[in-house]
Symmetry: C3
Subunit: 159 residues, 3 copies
């Protein structure tokens, strides 16, 4: 085991506030020279979606899933007090006032700090998400890669 | 500390997708020769319920809880897009098409791979669940056992 | 690294049952001589609110957030089966019958066992919570302190 500290986060949840927490911890750990991985699975994959429509061939079911899920980090709702998006707008306004970085910028910052962003290929298949629909410069892997990354980790979280 | 790696998961959540994530990680870690424990507490206990009705003596309150909670892994709903069970049916159809293992089989596989499945006795008491209602060949313990198992662990997750 | 074991928990969720799980694990780990930290962020901050109204100067938005969020551990709802508070009342009745400690007492016990209770200053700002509104004898810090505390930890959880 090398001396480099490691933080690995499974981002399962598809909510704006939970994804924010994941990315704030990831960016914090990267600033302290940790090797950081965020493994996006299930609804957490939505944080990696591009915000524009990407024309790809999908089955009927996959189209429905695609339409129902938020297209990108900025469109995710809150886990509490969402109130049809009103709570989310309030949080975003407050964040702006406090100069807190919104989620899409937190994702960008993570990429600049070399946080490894992984999309879980098994759940991409289940939800019908294609590589073309997700951000560039991310990695694709399954649970084996997650175990390999985490087993020597210092901080391991499931969010 | 021995050389065997350890993964311990607290399964608190009672949703199908979260329990799936827990069992996929557990089975993955077991495949990589980790000693794996899933400690089922609160709503996560429902993943261990037998799917048939088991006649046991219960107080009025315990009967209500028993009726309101899903009877076994297969009957749990989704954490997102459940839509009164429709989203869950969709996910199950898609899983079938992709040959992904449904939750009850993931639980079986975990038992075959000697993943230690523990039911939290304190929350069993609170929710009025009896040993007869839960799967055979699981273990019963409290928070002390969880701490003992996890403190030398490599991967520790709360799901 | 010293021989003392360490448990660090991020309490993000604002539900009674999840906060109970966090505090039960924290108290258990403290009983086994772990150094324990609970880092309260986002909705988890509500577990640290005093239950009386504290007159502080707030913006209009902050007042709204303050009114919508539960004032203290005892007023938090359940993550499942809350049914407008009915499920929560049922759980509390059952806990009483089983002599299980309610959440406010679990928080007290944690303080008596020297569990370090930290309020995340960044999310306090976002939600408009002031130090005067939170319990006495807690600490205030940001993500850097969390990383420092957790990177040599044995058990790291996000709840």
């Amino acid at each position: 085991m090398s001396d480099t500290k490691k933080t690995t986060i499974v981002l399962f949840s598809g909510e704006y506030d939970k994804a924010m927490a994941a990315y704030i911890i990831a960016n914090g750990a990267a600033a302290y020279d940790h090797e950081v991985t965020i493994f996006h699975t299930f609804w957490g994959l939505n944080a990696l979606r591009k915000d524009e429509h990407v024309p790809v061939k999908k089955s009927f079911m996959e189209k429905i899933f695609g339409k129902m899920m938020p297209r990108g980090a900025d469109k995710m709702g809150l886990s509490k007090m969402n109130y049809m998006g009103m709570g989310q707008k309030m949080i975003k306004d407050v964040m702006k006032k406090h100069n807190a970085l919104p989620l899409p910028q937190l994702v960008e910052m993570a990429q600049e700090q070399d946080v490894k962003l992984i999309a879980c290929t098994m759940t991409m298949d289940l939800l019908g998400l294609r590589k073309e629909e997700l951000l560039d410069e991310i990695e694709y892997a399954g649970v084996a890669a997650y175990i390999g990354d985490s087993e020597d980790g210092n901080i391991t979280l499931f969010i």
